[in-house]
Symmetry: C2
Subunit: 374 residues, 2 copies
Amino acid sequence: MIPGFSFKVSHRDGESRVGQLSTPHGVIETPAFMPVGTRGSVKAVLPDQLVELGAQIVLSNTYHLHLRPGEETVRRLGGLHPFMGWDGPILTDSGGFQVLSLAELRSIDDSGVRFKSHLDGRDVFLDPEGVLRIQAELGSDIAMVLDHCPPPQEDRDGMRRAMERTILWAERSAQARADLHTHAPMAVFAIQQGGSHEDLRDECTERLLEIDSRVAPFDGFAVGGVSVGEDRDKLLATIPVGVRGLPPARPRYLMGVTGFQEFVHAIGSGIDMFDCVLPTRNARSGYLFRTDGEIVRLKNSQHKDDPNPVDERCDCYTCARFSRGFLHHLLRRGELLSYTLNSIHNLRVFHRLLEDIRGAIRSGTFAEFTQRWR
Amino acid sequence: MIPGFSFKVSHRDGESRVGQLSTPHGVIETPAFMPVGTRGSVKAVLPDQLVELGAQIVLSNTYHLHLRPGEETVRRLGGLHPFMGWDGPILTDSGGFQVLSLAELRSIDDSGVRFKSHLDGRDVFLDPEGVLRIQAELGSDIAMVLDHCPPPQEDRDGMRRAMERTILWAERSAQARADLHTHAPMAVFAIQQGGSHEDLRDECTERLLEIDSRVAPFDGFAVGGVSVGEDRDKLLATIPVGVRGLPPARPRYLMGVTGFQEFVHAIGSGIDMFDCVLPTRNARSGYLFRTDGEIVRLKNSQHKDDPNPVDERCDCYTCARFSRGFLHHLLRRGELLSYTLNSIHNLRVFHRLLEDIRGAIRSGTFAEFTQRWR
């Protein structure tokens, strides 16, 4: 990996592993969950609260920050870390996911992606070189290359075309990073595509590794295009296929996967990093997770008079201080504090699950842990 | 005052004074600012953050809590303190202000006020006895009697009728409190009305004091019906009239007054306690106060690239960590964190102003302080 970064796998248990990813902004114990702060803030949660609930790294988004406030502004305000008030590592997604999520607002060819800004209709052009330059200017610790993330209903030919473009862009990214002016060291992760097709996934990995050895090494690899709406069976089957062939000495990031079961499955397949909007988004709608896997539907009137915490085994700020009854009241009344308290809880449950999983892997009991979660 | 409560004036400077109001949930240094948590939460701010920014007491509202979740629910959840997660003193307003603010939804006569619930249209009847019973059940530290707060355009006859009703209700409240079952000691404050008419204010004070000595003593007195839309000159003139004649050994609460200048003027007239939604409401719209009295309009694009804090002399969490540029970005993007960070700042400015004022009164320099604020 580039100077300033290192990755060491300290424990293995089957395919699962515990590692330490060192960055200029701190060490991340993997497998790690990354809360999502798309526009520079994890919705309704303060940086101090993120530290308290165990967050080690935060994710932000190149497309959204490029639009507003713009990387030039972020740079003038000292870069993404002082801007957000977050001193730990930051990973920025490239905008590749917006190729999918904002499909109606963009056109794409091998040169790059042209978006109609979802805010003001202005033309925004992103290409592999530009996306890395923006992330360097933002001051990201870990940059993602631009990729083409296709929808799950794409046929095999479409999947291949998206994969070919992703590989083309990975090569341009590998070339571009040498010319990049960065204020601080920035790691760059490649992204694998290929839909649910095993052979495409394998081919993509091979060709990314060829670029990695011929042009310039990547600091990590991401499995992209999973959990974008495909069947759950396909989703689960794709993860180990995505991982196999990736170099074991480098971190592996599974992009945007939702759900506890999927996490546990992915870690069992050798994944080191995740992001997921589920804990914060569900929190704001009143769906609260519990460490036993149950979900509390907070809007339900059965909670009105309930003096118990959401999860009696949870050690978060919310569960230590507030009853289900109070949280039900805040949610029903649309009180802003509801979003904060619910998000803190859900994020803590996710982080604690990861802590428990790391413990299980260290002690060689991940299989038992998995059994309990089934 | 009733057992469990005491009030001691420790310093005087002209009419202004510093005092200690002791309650079963802690001591309040007066003059004190009370943040507003109408429905059991100060919007977007956690109890711990309130403690950190210097809040000593929080205000909540009988009418709103009676409607949802209802005092029965609050009682089942342990009472208002555990419900809100706030261990300090709580003052509950009686619903008298809703007589004015929800005027189109209520009918009033000497028996009490009948509201059409603003939530579901259901009939809600509040009378002086019921309002005290609800506050006792909520577990309030300081209860307000039910009053009739008239609009400022009311003519003299209307003002007199509202005052007569307020006095009638104060007498019923003084009688009712003896029969009240309270889980913990609860102070009861009387409310003075009379609009901008000096003679009505004086008469109201006299007759409340007559009830106070004949029926049962009140633990404090509030000047109500000020800052309800009347001219600023009338507002300022009414405050010292409202205060004169109130017993100096008991705390004096000026209800719902907005603005720094008005605060300083009221304290100079001998007021001990305030509440005001201004800091939190303005924070949510991006109007941020500074300790020098200036207002920062955060939405203004001039702040986009500004790396400075909102107030370089402010010691709040927000100013210690975040730039105007970031706060501008959060507000423009509607990020939930914006409400929290802005509210923390504005509340801190208000509390710090009060700390400075108490310091000035202690050192006998309140007049100089006032000069600086003019």
